[in-house]
């Protein structure tokens, strides 16, 4: 169906997950896999490149590849979708729309999205009934028009947009800590000054065109963000604010 090396990667991922190749064990050699699956060595190498980018395996010239860890599911999608993430934890996600307006873009929003008019959505997200984050998102006009047609309290925006053909491909996140202001405190039901984890996110489609610009604030004692990086696939930067 899809490309052969993707199928093979999925197969190996599954084999790692089900314990055929536990962490610390060695994978079959390139030539063995190529013979067993009837593909060339080049295709097997493309497969390994995928697994390596995910941090699943280590490789060294001369030695067989080593399994480092079991695969984690869908990290990119999970990071963008509160609903997906919540369900993966066995929690029930919900939301409460505070406001959705179409308005002039602020200078920061115009800078991030490159448009003069934007849709702005404020939502409180709850995990099993408890408020844990505030979402303040500016959508590009084209996307915002679609968002306006979604029942944001019951549906997953991210999943609906995917069905409508909006593809989120890249995201840049900036994380820092801020004290809760009066509005945050009222929406989250915490004391003003409580430590919040702030995530500012700019998401683009596969061509690098901006789709959304969001500032989310999480209750510090309810949510953490984890990042995995490696010299091979480097993706992080520290920044002064």
């Amino acid at each position: 169906m899809s490309a052969r090396f993707r199928d093979l990667a999925a197969e190996l991922r599954a084999a790692i997950t089900d314990g055929t190749y536990p962490p610390g064990s060695h994978l079959p050699s390139e030539s063995e896999l190529s013979e067993r699956h009837g593909v060339s060595r080049g295709t097997v190498r493309q497969t390994f490149a995928l697994l390596r980018a995910d941090g699943l395996i280590a490789s060294h010239q001369g030695a067989r590849r080593t399994v480092l860890a079991a695969p984690r599911v869908q990290s990119f999608a999970e990071l963008r979708s509160f609903s997906l993430w919540a369900r993966s934890l066995g929690e029930t996600p919900s939301g409460r729309k505070v406001a959705l307006v179409r308005r002039e873009a602020s200078p920061g929003e115009r800078d991030a999205l490159g448009e003069d008019r934007i849709y702005h959505l404020t939502r409180v997200r709850l995990l099993s009934g408890r408020p844990v984050m505030i979402e303040r998102t500016a959508y590009v006009d084209r996307v915002g028009a679609l968002v306006a047609g979604i029942d944001t309290d019951t549906e997953s925006i991210c999943e609906r947009l995917a069905e409508l053909g909006i593809v989120f491909a890249h995201a840049e996140h900036t994380l820092d800590a801020v004290p809760a202001d009066e509005e945050d405190a009222a929406l989250l039901g915490c004391a003003p000054g409580t430590a919040l984890l702030r995530e500012r996110r700019r998401t683009t489609d596969p061509d690098g065109r901006p789709l959304e610009w969001s500032e989310d604030r999480y209750l510090g004692d309810a949510v953490a963000v984890t990042v995995h990086n490696s010299v091979a696939a480097s993706v992080l930067e520290r920044q002064k604010s």
Copy 2:
């Protein structure tokens, strides 16, 4: 010197940086580059794979590759090394060792590092004289022994360890927000309860063996962390704490 495709990637990165190929422009085709540089098309494709993993270019079947953004320097190394990062901002990094002891590992440390005895270092890091973070790091015995021989107030631990043959290859970071406790406040010179960005980090060598386990706390209004991810090279996970 190094592999041809790495040289070519460095050359293209430089060309993007210096404006030869500004963001939004199109790169030469694979065949043109292969001919111009006297390499095969396969080698050119390896080059593009590197640039793509860094989020620098977009590619589509049938159309030439598009430049998305200018390259950022050294993200992985910068994230690990406070000194490198500070110098890249034009600031003067410094540190003050609070304590370095060899002791029994706590349960959490034993879990992260897999050893019973560890070295534990507490340091305050300053940016141009102002304290901005507290570093509390547990080193695996082998590495800690080397750290003990480093003048931690003047040298960069990370750079010294690299010279001594310790290679940091993968890191997993967990980020959340916490209020400053009494000790934090005293070390950073802020009020207790101030919002701090907490980064817990586990770093391993290329084979996945743990090297260090650190809990760093940043002044929220002085430092932020940025993360870049994409569907192609997915590296992030949100986590309940």
